[in-house]
């Protein structure tokens, strides 16, 4: 098997995650889908690392994880405070972007 298949898998997972972001209304699930996309990217980085024979790709994946952790912390905090004020975790309820 060619390790390229990992990349295809990564692309597939990324796409699924992106679609999930678009069709789910629950902010928490949307967030999970974003995590899925990040993970898909990480997989690609790890495979690239293997492809090039150095560890830089893994470093990037590592940083991604750290940033994702920070993001989750802040993001969930936002969801919680949003829920407190609006009693809902639906992204559609926050439709203040309309005129």
């Amino acid at each position: 098997m060619n390790p390229v298949n990992y990349l295809y898998l990564s692309a597939l997972l990324f796409t699924i995650g992106a679609t999930g972001v678009l069709i789910r209304r629950n902010a928490i699930v949307v967030f999970m889908c974003i995590e899925l996309m990040l993970n898909a990217c990480n997989l690609a980085f790890v495979v690239f690392s293997r492809m090039h024979g150095n560890l830089d790709g893994q470093i990037i994946a590592f940083f991604t994880m750290v940033v994702a952790a920070a993001e989750v912390v802040v993001g969930l905090a936002i969801i919680v405070s949003l829920f407190r004020t609006r009693h809902s975790a639906s992204v559609d309820d926050a439709s203040l972007m309309k005129l």
């Binding site: 992106a18 972001v21 678009l22 069709i23 209304r25 992204v91 559609d92 926050a94 439709s95 203040l96 972007m97 309309k98 005129l99």
Partner: protein
């Protein structure tokens, strides 16, 4: 001496300025100021005339360059005056008759509160007319040309409170404008052909240009002449122009302004001589108009309109003569001058009659006036004899020569033109006799008007009769004075040139034929209007009579084709402008408004919706990148 030429124009111009700007303060003396300045101009003219007579025939052209008017690379219009025998003749006619009519107007307009302004306009007219005949280039002539048009507009519409007068004034100006268009195109053609439009370069080099161009110039000049001189097809304004005060009709619409077309053609003789087609067109227009005017003159019951038809017809003679080339130029001008005398006299007589008849113009309500106003009767009668060409009076000499020249044209054309001129002479005799009989002979037919005022016909005051007498003297003597010894011919020949045609008929034969026509015309008129009483209400008359009463349906044609058509055109254009031109723009605006309204709905405020478009955009970017790599 040359400076006097400028003063010739300056005097009436000053009068116009003073009278029009001066305001009510001058009401008491305004008419005398106007008359004085007009007379001053006449005196200047006389001085110049004497001066010219003192010179040799070839030194009789005086040029006065005043200043450079419109200097633009290659286009040099100067204010330069030229006084030669031709313009001298006109100057004397204009200022002479003009001064007499000023004098007459003092009496005629006595009761009009706006008399000062009337004299201002008259002076303005004199200035413009003098500018017209004294200009040394066509552009300056054009200024005078439109200037007289303006004066005519103001004077026809002098009684502006009458809608008919205002309409007539507008009509006169508009029809004239059509002619003016011809003059401006002619000037443009001259400029592109000769690089100049001064008389000298154009007329001296006319022979060098191609015949096509000269024909075009000639036809355009003819169009201008038709407008100003009320020739077919632009004759319709003259009849309506009789709405103006009678002195105006006498001065402008009989003696001077309407003859400007003849002046223009004679002045541009060199161009016409080299363009036979244009000449032929001129003669045709002249011949048609002389019959047209005469027929119209026969049917009118309004004394002034009958005279207006006569004017049209007589100018037709002049145009016909001018179209004949060097054979006819001198006689055109000669007829012009004699016509100036007798027609002005006739109009003043008509004015005098109206003055005594509470401004009644319908000849069917006159009758037997010869006893009530003898001076008017005699002067009018002399004018009448002159115009029908009674032997020995001025009309006899000038008209006879024109008919002779028309035959001398030779060939079929000669016969046709000569025949038309002869026929015209007969009709002239008829309608003038009709006017004479209906006005001064027979029993009185006037009745009290609605207010019960019975007219009390009376002779006009001295200030009016003196000009009439002087003009009558002119109508009697001018012809003989000019013709005996061919004085007028020799005077004008250096300018216009002259050639003797070989007429198929001898001079005596032509004179004989004219006399026969005269007798026939007078006879028929006598049979119809002299023997029995004239009905107060006009009989229905034949088809021709009815058509002639309506100016041979020319106004109806104009109304249907031009006025109605124009109204429809402008109305539909207004509609088009509003709905189509503006509609396209407003439609575009509305389209954008609608489109943005639609697009606004896409902005529904849902973050997910925006995310989709973002994602789609990202996909497109990736696609673009891939495509770029693939290429």
């Amino acid at each position: 001496m040359e400076n006097l030429i400028a003063l010739l124009i300056a005097a009436p111009l000053l009068g116009a300025a003073v009278l029009l700007v001066g305001g009510r303060r001058l009401d008491a003396v305004g008419h005398w100021i106007g008359t004085l300045l007009s007379t001053v101009s006449f005196v200047f003219g006389l001085i110049l005339f004497v001066d010219l007579l003192g010179k040799g025939a070839e030194h009789r052209t005086l040029i006065k360059h005043l200043y450079s008017w419109v200097p633009v690379a290659g286009f040099q219009a100067d204010v330069t005056f030229r006084l030669d025998q031709l313009s001298m003749t006109f100057v004397l006619l204009i200022t002479g008759v003009g001064s007499l009519i000023h004098l007459y107007s003092v009496g005629y307009m006595e009761h009009d509160e706006r008399r000062r302004r009337f004299f201002g306009y008259l002076n303005l007219f004199l200035a413009a007319m003098l500018l017209l005949v004294l200009a040394d280039n066509y552009l300056l002539l054009y200024v005078g040309w439109e200037g007289v048009g303006l004066a005519s507009y103001l004077l026809i519409g002098f009684w502006q409170h009458k809608p008919s007068a205002a309409t007539a004034a507008k009509k006169a100006f508009l029809v004239n404008r059509v002619g003016d268009m011809g003059l401006s195109i002619a000037i443009m053609l001259m400029f592109t052909t000769f690089g100049s439009f001064a008389f000298g370069p154009v007329l001296n080099h006319a022979g060098d240009a191609s015949e096509g161009k000269l024909t075009a110039i000639g036809l355009m000049l003819l169009l201008a002449a038709c407008g100003k001189s009320a020739q077919v097809p632009l004759q319709s304004w003259l009849g309506d122009a009789m709405e103006g005060p009678t002195p105006v009709s006498a001065l402008i619409h009989a003696a001077t302004m309407v003859t400007a077309g003849v002046y223009l053609i004679v002045r541009s003789g060199a161009v016409f001589n080299a363009a036979p087609d244009a000449q032929l067109a001129v003669t045709v227009v002249g011949a048609v108009t002389l019959l047209f005017g005469a027929i119209v003159g026969c049917a009118k019951d309004d004394i002034k309109k009958a005279l207006a038809g006569s004017t049209m017809s007589q100018i037709g003679y002049m145009i016909l003569a001018a179209g004949l080339g060097p054979i006819g130029y001198v006689f055109a001008i000669m007829h012009l001058v004699t016509h100036g005398f007798f027609k002005a006299g006739l109009f003043l007589g008509a004015g005098s009659v109206m003055h005594g008849m509470n401004d009644e113009v319908d000849m069917r309500k006159y009758g037997g006036l010869r006893t009530y106003m003898p001076v008017t009767f005699i002067t009018f009668g002399l004018g009448y004899l002159a115009i029908i060409g009674f032997p020995g009076l001025s009309g006899f000499f000038s008209k006879d020569k024109i008919i002779e020249a028309a035959f001398a044209k030779g060939g079929t054309e000669g016969w046709i033109l000569g025949g038309a001129a002869l026929l015209g002479a007969a009709i002239t005799a008829f309608y003038m006799t009709r006017v004479m009989l209906m006005t001064f002979f027979g029993e009185k037919r006037w009745q009290p008007d609605e207010n019960g005022h019975e007219p009390h016909p009376h002779e006009s005051p001295r200030v009016m009769t003196i000009p009439m007498i002087l003009l009558a003297v002119g109508s009697v003597c001018a012809g003989g004075l000019f013709s005996i010894g061919d004085r007028f011919l020799h005077w004008l020949e250096p300018i216009t040139g002259h050639s003797e045609g070989n007429s198929p008929l001898s001079a005596a034969a032509v004179t004989g034929a004219t006399m026969v026509c005269l007798v026939i015309g007078v006879g028929i008129a006598w049979a119809q209007y002299g023997r029995g009483p004239v009905p107060v209400v006009a009989p229905r008359g034949s088809l021709l009579t009815r058509a002639a009463r309506r100016d041979l349906l020319q106004d109806d044609f104009n109304h249907v084709v031009l006025v109605r058509g124009g109204e429809h055109l402008t109305r539909s254009l207004v509609y088009v402008d509003h709905t189509l031109v503006d509609g396209v723009v407003n439609g575009t605006a509305a389209g954008f408004g609608g489109l943005s309204g639609r697009l606004r709905r896409i902005q529904n405020g849902f973050a997910r919706s925006y995310a989709v478009s973002m994602f789609g955009g990202a996909a497109l970017l990736v696609a673009a990148t891939l495509l770029m790599r693939a290429v």
